[in-house]
Amino acid sequence: MANAHVHPETQEERLIEEHGYDDHFHEHHHGDKFQSNFLTTYIFSQDHKIIARQFLITGMIWAIIGGLMSLVFRLQLGFPDESLAWLKPVLGKWITVSEAGVGTLSQEFYYALVTMHGTIIVFFVLTAGLSGTFSNLLIPLQVGARDMASPFLNMLSYWFFFLASVVMFASLFLSTGPFAGGWTAYPPLSALPQASDGSGTGMTLWIISLVFFVVSVLLGGINYITTVLNLRTKGMSMWRMPLTIWAFFVTAILGLLSFPVLASGFFLLMFDRGLGTSFYLSEIFIGGQALDHVGGSPILYQHLFWFLGHPEVYIIILPAMGIVSEVLSVHARKAIFGYKAMVYSILAIGFLSFIVWAHHMFMSGVNPFISNFFVIFTLIIAVPSAVKVFNWITTLYKGNIRFTAASLFAIGFVSMFISGGLTGIFLGNSAIDIQMHDTYFVVAHFHIVMGVAAFFGMFAGVYHWFPKMFGRFMNETLGKIHFWITMVGAYAIFWPMHYLGMAGVPRRYYRFDTFETFRHFAEMNKFITVAAVIVFAAQLLLVINFFYSIWKGKKMTNPNPWGASTLEWTTPINVGHGNWAGKIPAVQRWPYDYGKDGREFIPQIEPLKDGESDGGH
């Protein structure tokens, strides 16, 4: 008897005991040497579940900072002539108060806020906070592994992210301000301290921070890939993996292939900044001086940046898609429609994401002939994306939908993904992009499709797997209020921006009344700002709910509260390091047997009955 201390009580435990794989996990060691004290349990933990929580909470803190920044610049855009003197205690010298007492936001800091908002949300929140959290939490649990392939690298992954966070946070307090040249950091603006205050020390810290971040992503990614490929439990064939795992797996591959290119782009930028090379610089006269750099091209940087930058948007959205597929299926009590088509779509999107990058550069001066190919590939992406949307909608069809905060956000995700995805068809077509490029149409497009949608995926994941993380539930009513305000509010913020963009209003403008063409929209800008304030306030519902529920939420009594068939719900309520007390569960079927044979759900660990079809899985 391998595990004398395990006494199967529930049906699940019996199934694991009967069919599971015995890796003698608890046989040989005496106490967990990796989790022996507070420090190793909660701080320098190597348990993927703790690391997931660390990513999530760090991500939440960054989301609040990034969100607050957007409120400040929205105030500037919505109410350009109102006094911001009341922000002086927080922003200090970045607010200039005139003798009449009117406080004005400095232009330099406005651009710093815009830049930091983008950097923080894209990298720290929607990459680390989303993929970092759920890949860590779910990959070992859903493939039936004790932990990541390398728990130590996994721990390092978080701490490199933490280091990146510290450096970026420090840059906010520089006297010359943080970097202010846009989250894409195009040189020469980002390369020359003469060009912008933020391009001095602010930019140096920005690059250092993001290089640490790249290290974090690579350490995490290599772990996710290895774990998915090598540590799947008995019976867990690739075609039996939940869509979450497929999404995290492809995301990790994308990250592994694209982030090093970003890093090399950054290194060349560092060389140009510090060593006098001319990779990106040529024929520049600035600050009354002709620089020595000749022969470089700023467009090279754009290629390197977007070679990451475009896969990056899929690195953000694929995990959200995976989460939504899972959550929709569980709460609709119905199998995900077209599982294989969903997997092929993820693979197709992942592949195509590498050959569309220059659609960010139609107007950058690249040869217009080259753009033809990027238009074709870009619009092809619409096909697998459309397939996913149709499949999600069909998943709801004839389902038995249980509305929870998680399923609401999953449905909201689909709505957002449709709205934002369709506007991508305009932008991907280079002819239309001539007018739309760098206008508010783009802002509306990417905020809806990869900002709001990715957040919705993340929220769905948080509400759904909170019980797994903390053994308690988040409050459902607050979650639903949070959803409805955010759903309505997010559209209220970003929908009107399409009209701004059609009128040609450029993004990244400090104010619009310098141009006759752009000054028609003062009322709309006020409306957007008010909506943004309300939506931000609604997010505090989540924050309060989250932290309150960690300690005071309703306790979990049933280890599988949602009636889900995936493996993570076969673990005990208070999951220890190693995930399963006894054997590792063996997988007998695909993860979406909902409503089959008149049963609400059939866990993956339940063997096929005689004559039962496995549906080709």
Binding site: A290, G296, K334, T394
Partner: protein, 506 residues
């Protein structure tokens, strides 16, 4: 105090939120979880349906409300020849995406409402349907193909360079001619260069940029000499225009929203756009007149309506630093006569700012048109003197004849006027003159006397070498004895240092 109140507020809101949460938890304890889930399913399903209606109505209504800002609709018409192809691509895309948007959103929210949980029902087990999936893979694929083909066709037309064999000229007259101008972005503004009479923009080099050469034009390239820097972009309606876009420092973007043009300004690499403006500013204003958005008083000038003050604008559409939002320049499209009248008022940057200054490589020579102008000026002065009666009018100053300081060597540009004089001597065979040298009172009178004699003699020798016979002229030095102005100021002394000739006989 405010900070304290703010913190208190946040704290109280937090408590309220937590209490809301607890109330519902209590309710679920009393009513039972299943009952509560049942209620919440119903209410949220209804909200889904309500949201669908409100969302679709709001999106369609807002699109209707803002229709006049949509590309190619109402007053938001493009003002360039290629603009409409792009606008029609927008409309076609809007049509297809609009249908998909409405149908999918309806399906999503309707199914969410329709299939809300019901205790008495289980979900159907439908794992896939290959036929259905094939259909909805193919339909988007076909639509995308259609959009790609249309889009690429438009794109390649719009981005095409000027037709082969076309010639650049300042005022294009036909399809074989185009106007090429140059826009250079810098932090934070634009410098616009027009080609001048030769129709060609001269070379530039960033190393040559200085205070009085803001673009770094290379004056050794003669194409530069007539290039003009202008304060606004004025273009003739109907002409083919190519804009060469460059940058001095960081990336900028040359964006003409009304003309559907946008291209990055890249340091070290010129980029190009080609377009043909089709509506004059005035015509565009007349078109706007009919729309109520433009029938409001201009906030900056309430004596005029918005349509009356409308102008095309050049903007920057690539983040370039803190002044990015302010890189405005006025763009005017006018009929050709008005364009010509405007060109008349523009000056060559070289001639107005660089000519005869230190950086001028041609300061030792005159261009043909300058030689002609000088000759005309000289002949006019001479003819006036010949026609005059009084003796004082018979003395003519050789304005452009100068000597190196303190010596009797002619400066490099002096010979042009002497040539003009020699020509006049040939034209008027009876003309006899005295060449007279004068100095100011700097230095000793004796030395000045000698110097003036030497200088008169140099002129005499030059004329004689040019074929004027000795009996028709004399040379005389007057030293400082005949000032025409005060010697107390530099300006006066400059007038006193002079070479003249006196008509003795005509």
């Amino acid at each position: 105090m405010t900070a304290f109140l703010a913190i208190l507020c946040v704290f109280l809101i937090g408590i309220v939120v937590v209490q809301i949460g607890r109330v519902t938890e209590l309710a679920s304890k009393i009513r039972g979880e299943e009952e509560m889930q049942d209620r919440t399913n119903k209410s949220n399903a209804s909200l889904m349906l309500a949201f669908m209606v409100v969302f679709l109505v709001a999106s369609v209504y807002s699109a209707y409300h803002y229709k006049n800002y949509m590309l190619g609709y109402g007053p938001h018409e493009s003002a360039s020849a290629h603009g409409s192809t792009l606008d029609s691509m927008f409309k076609i895309t809007l049509f297809f995406t609009g249908i998909v948007f409405v149908l999918t959103q309806i399906a999503l929210f309707y199914f969410a409402w329709k299939y809300k949980a019901d205790k008495n029902r289980t979900a159907d087990f439908i794992s896939h349907d290959n036929k259905l999936e094939m259909i909805w893979t193919l339909i988007p694929a076909v639509v995308m193909t259609y959009l790609v083909v249309g889009g690429l066709d438009a794109w390649n037309q719009v981005m095409a360079d000027i037709p082969e064999g076309a010639v650049s000229t300042l005022v294009p007259q036909n399809d074989k001619e185009f106007l090429e101008i140059e826009a250079t972005g810098w932090q934070f503004g634009w410098t616009i260069r027009y080609p001048g009479e030769d129709g060609k923009i001269g070379k530039k080099n960033f190393k040559l940029i200085s205070n009085n050469n803001p673009l770094g034009q290379d004056w050794a390239d003669e194409k530069n000499l007539d290039d003009m820097h202008v304060g606004e972009i004025v273009l003739p309606k109907g002409a083919l225009v190519r804009v060469r876009v460059t940058s001095k420092d960081v990336l900028h973007n040359f964006n003409l929203p009304h003309f559907r043009n946008k291209i990055d300004a890249v340091p070290g690499m010129p980029t190009y756009i080609v377009f043909r403006p089709t509506k004059t500013t005035e015509e565009y204003r007349q078109m706007l007149k009919d729309y109520k958005e433009y029938q409001r008083p201009d906030p900056n000038d309430d004596t005029k309506m918005l349509w009356e003050t409308f102008n095309y604008e050049l903007t920057c559409a690539e983040l370039c630093g803190k002044g990015h939002y302010s890189m405005r320049m006025l763009v005017k499209i006018v009929e050709e006569p008005e364009y010509r009248a405007w060109l008349e008022k523009q000056n060559s940057y070289y001639l107005s700012t660089i000519r005869f200054k230190d950086g001028d490589p041609y300061k030792d020579k005159l261009f043909d048109f300058e030689v002609k102008a000088r000759k005309a000026e000289f002949d006019e002065t001479l003819d006036k003197a010949l026609a005059a009666q009084e003796a004082a009018a018979k003395t003519i100053r050789l304005t452009y004849v100068n000597f190196e300081t303190g010596g009797a060597d002619l400066t490099s540009l002096s010979h042009y006027e002497l040539d003009d004089l020699a020509d006049a001597m040939k034209r008027y065979p009876n003309l006899r003159i005295e060449v007279a040298g004068h100095t100011d009172n700097t230095g000793s009178p004796d030395a000045n006397q000698t110097l003036s004699e030497q200088r008169a003699q140099v002129v005499y020798d030059y004329l004689s070498k040019a074929g004027v016979s000795a009996d028709r002229m004399t040379a005389k030095g007057y030293g400082q004895t005949v000032p025409v102005d005060t010697n107390d100021t530099e300006a006066g002394r400059a007038k006193n240092r002079r070479t003249e000739f006196v008509i003795l006989n005509q």
